[in-house]
Amino acid sequence: MVATAFNIVFNGFLQLLAALLLAPLLSGIIKRTKAFLQGRTGPIPLQVYRDITKMWGKEAVVSTHASVVSLWAPWIIAAAVGAASLYIPIMSAAPLHRIGDLFIAVYLFALARLATGLLGLDGATNFGGMGTGREMAVGALTEPVLLVSLLGIALPAGTTGLTNMTHYLAAVGLGGVNLSYLLAMAALGVVLVAETGRIPVDNPDTHLELTMMHESMILDVSGWHLALITWANSVKQFLLCSLLANLVLPWYPAGRFLPAVLFYLGKVLAIGLALAAVETAYAKMRLFKLPHLLGFALLLGILGVLFGLWGL
């Protein structure tokens, strides 16, 4: 009992800390890789840390028309994403996997999106409203895709716990790889791109009004507020990459600490590099073509689950 408690606290705490601290590094590596693939040099991966610490030390400027919502929203976003990291398996088990499941994680991300949406409207500027309208509508479409792609694994596993799902996949090994699983993973891949706000769904590097979604909502955010949101976004990206990595490659070298850590970091990195490659290979999609992509992913996911029910 004591050993288990220690295990939960130690493992959980360590993993949590790693996720919260390593997340900006993943963002930096993706940026650097993207630059490399585009024939540029790009900033060094540690630049994201420098940006965050620099912004953290600066005062925040908010709109005269802003309310208390603008003051708290960055904290709520950070809190929601931080809480989500307690329920998503990072290296082995999610710290709170016994008392929370995929729904809590999905709805915590929804809370972060909602707070960002309100933040966008609070300053009484046009860009914020534009971003909120777009992001909330597209978010409404990504949520079912995320759910259905996770269901593709949750149903055969017979549990909605994310950690239990990875354990199930690790136990069945390659026997678990079937049509249903592959479709679910394809759908989850699309969700990863959409939820991290990357090309072809959204462009994290642009400030052009025709294409912005997420960046548009936080266009007026500055200083240490922006540091919080940037950090929270990189954590969200890290968590989603980690989730996909754990579902695609659920194994880890048992018993040995260092190889396990290296293997885990390797697979998350691989997902991140894939994201960078996708961003380089594709062009930004027109805003109202997005429902087609997400609808396609949704149908893939549903087909996958139904195939699973019929035992394909």
Binding site: A79, G100, V106, G120, D122, G133, A140
Partner: protein, 668 residues
């Protein structure tokens, strides 16, 4: 033990009824003294509701029954409360107390117009809600049901000077009476088997087609009162038209009484429905949830958005009921009904205070149009706080009550998808979950739009600039409800265990054995409440750090205010994103489903600038397809039959003669 009736229940119920009746009569009696009917009616309804709260509290522990009065020698008005009806009565009368306190100030604007009618109808409404829940026979049930419909109809039509309100009341009147007619047929069909008293109505089994007919009649009759798609068309019109504390009661409580009827019909009166009805309920529920969410995203009226959200929530409740039928043979069936009761409680709390908050906004700004509001968080911070909690709850944000019930519904559907008896059932579970996730996303978007446009940013009109907080008497009920909502969210686990136990009392014996212990229910992987508490704690920690940072952070963590950059021009409030604009992405994405007609008209003024107007027609969904043909049929039939009434005296005498002859021939 079972014969023991707590000595308090009967007098409390009766004193409550007397209070309501007294309020009814006194409101009309003092009709010539403006303001007095309001005060009297609010006092009596608050007192009556309070007595009923006490009775319902006792009824939770100890069932009771009795006779209200006897007519002649062979008919009496029987009443009965058991744990199940007590739970609903508790919600109804608790809501009644708070709405009455709110009405004390809020109904002031009706003092000169229709105050006595409002006072009378309001008391009658609360009385009939309670009487429906305690009725123990066909006649008491139908009579109080009809009183409930008529009294609410009066309050919907209170602003009858406005054509839109008259139309809303007219449509409500037609649909609610159609529903009562269908219910009457269903009741009479069942009375053939079990008599007029509900005491003998235990799992009645009408033969074959009659069963399905009765169930269909119950579903349409109760469903149209609850606002289930496609018989919901009155709801988004009627709920906003009533005074806000009445809207709150209609949306928070009256629709639940319909759910109560449907639950009684499906699980107590009739034998457990076959799976096909479970499937139908699930489909209708999901359709309602999606429709409600989509139109909540588009509607331009503050209370209209809330009314559509009610349709969405009724959809969730119905889907839960459908899942309960499909999961009949499993212990998750009881959990599904536990969800229905849990969500009944939480929806009643948050929808109540949202409507009360909307009433405060309407009272302060004299408008409900989203695009005329804005920036109210500065002038009405407390109301904004109340509405924010409600908005977050509806959007199913952890750790609030909306998330807790959504989580349970997801678990129920997951167990349907995982252990359903047939592949079709399991597929239905999966599709329902996907649709529910889409609903949740749309609702979140609708709620961000609602709160953002009304409370954030800058005031769009002068009305919204000069708004102010409502009085204490109006703020108190809202604060109580907000606190209740937060408690329901955090204590959702023990509450769920309780509601599952209550649900187990009305469900058939086959489901009852296993459900007695809700711990056996496959809630995987664990307790939501603990998780919710942890989330709350974590969020509080973050917020604490935030407060400290702002307090002690020094210059580097300061927040400075500055005018937003407007590309060199001055930003005006009209340049903010409007409610219409915020809904546009969703409107374009779902255009093939919505089929809205929009038009841009340009008018050239005498100056060189031309003014463009954008108009969007948002018809109530389903009206064109379902109701127009029925209406046309009626009109057609009425025109045919009008020929009979030609206006000549001889003809009418001839009719009389003919009738007499026919009667003599047939009856003799």
């Amino acid at each position: 033990m079972s014969n023991y009736i707590h000595p308090f229940i009967t007098p409390a119920l009766y004193v409550g009824q007397i209070c309501f009746l007294a309020g009814c009569i006194a409101s009309l009696f003092f009709r010539n003294r403006p303001g007095l009917p309001r005060k009297v009616s609010c006092l009596t309804s608050a007192a009556g509701s309070l007595f009923w709260v006490l009775a319902a509290w006792q009824g939770l522990h100890q069932p009771a029954q009795g006779t209200l009065f006897t007519i002649g020698f062979d008919w009496a008005w029987f009443w009965r409360i058991d744990t199940f009806s007590s739970l609903f009565l508790l919600v109804v009368s608790g809501a009644g107390v708070l709405a009455s306190i709110y009405g004390w100030q809020y109904a002031r604007e009706y003092d000169t117009t229709g105050g006595p009618v409002l006072g009378c109808a309001y008391n009658l409404f609360l009385l009939s809600l309670g009487l429906v829940l305690t009725a123990d026979g066909v006649l008491p049930f139908l009579l109080s049901w009809e009183f409930m419909s008529i009294s609410s109809l009066f309050m919907v039509g209170l602003d009858h000077q406005k054509p839109a309100v008259r139309q809303a009341a007219f449509i409500y009147g037609i649909i609610t009476h159609g529903a009562t007619a269908l219910l009457t047929i269903a009741f009479l069909l069942l009375a053939n088997l079990g008599g007029l008293n509900f005491a003998n109505w235990q799992a009645l089994q009408p033969a074959g087609a009659i069963y399905h007919l009765v169930f269909a009649l119950f579903l349409i009759g109760f469903g149209s009162k609850a606002g289930l798609v496609p018989v919901h068309v009155w709801l988004p019109r009627a709920h906003p038209a009533a005074p806000s504390h009445v809207s709150a009661l209609m949306s928070g409580v009256m629709v639940k009484v319909a759910i109560y009827g449907l639950l009684r019909a499906a699980f107590t009166w009739l034998d457990t429905p076959p799976p096909v009805w479970g499937g139908i309920l699930l489909v209708l529920g999901i359709a309602s949830a999606l429709t409600g969410a989509l139109y909540a995203m588009i509607d331009q009226d503050l209370k209209g958005v809330l009314a559509y959200s009610t349709i969405e929530n009724i959809g969730l409740l119905t889907a839960g009921m459908g899942a309960a039928i499909l999961l009949d043979s499993m212990d998750a069936g009881a959990l599904a009904l536990g969800f229905v009761l849990l969500h009944t409680i939480s929806h009643a709390t948050f929808k109540m205070f949202l409507f009360l908050g909307a009433g405060a906004v309407q009272g302060a700004t004299h408008t409900r149009r989203l695009d005329r509001l804005g920036g109210l968080i500065h002038s009405m911070p407390q109301t904004a706080g109340v509405v924010l909690v409600g908005v977050l709850t509806i959007a199913a944000v952890p750790p609030l009550a909306g998330f807790a019930s959504e989580w349970v519904l997801m678990q129920v559907l997951f167990s349907l998808a995982n252990n359903g008896a047939t592949v079709e059932m399991r597929a239905a579970g999966v599709l329902a979950m996907v649709a529910l996730a889409l609903t949740a996303g749309l609702v979140a978007a609708a709620m961000v739009r609602l709160f953002g446009v009304v409370f954030l940013g800058r005031a769009r009109t002068a009305d919204a600039t000069h708004a102010g907080e409502p009085s204490k008497a109006m703020r108190l009920p809202m604060s109580v409800l907000v606190a209740g909502c937060v408690v329901v969210g955090l204590a959702s686990r023990p509450l769920l265990a309780f509601t599952t136990r209550v649900a187990a009392q009305i469900i058939p014996q086959s489901m009852r054995d296993i459900s007695a212990a809700p711990q056996s229910v496959p809630l995987n992987p664990g307790l939501p409440s603990v998780a919710l508490l942890l989330i709350a704690l974590l969020a509080l920690t973050f917020l604490g750090v935030a407060a400290l940072t702002r307090h002690y952070g020094g210059k580097s963590h300061a927040v400075r205010c500055s005018l937003p950059w407007g590309c060199g021009a001055d930003l005006t409030p009209q340049m903010q994103y409007s409610a219409l604009g915020l809904a546009e992405p969703a409107r374009i994405i779902f255009r093939s489903i919505l089929r809205l007609k929009s038009a841009v008209t340009q008018t050239h003024s005498s100056q060189s600038a031309s003014v463009s107007r954008f108009q969007l027609a948002v018809p109530v969904p389903g009206e064109g397809m379902l109701y127009k043909p029925v209406r046309n049929l009626f009109v057609h039939f009425a025109e045919r039959i009008r020929k009979v009434q030609a206006g000549s005296l001889q003809l009418y005498l001839a009719y009389m003669l003919a009738t007499l002859l026919v009667l003599l021939l047939v009856v003799r």
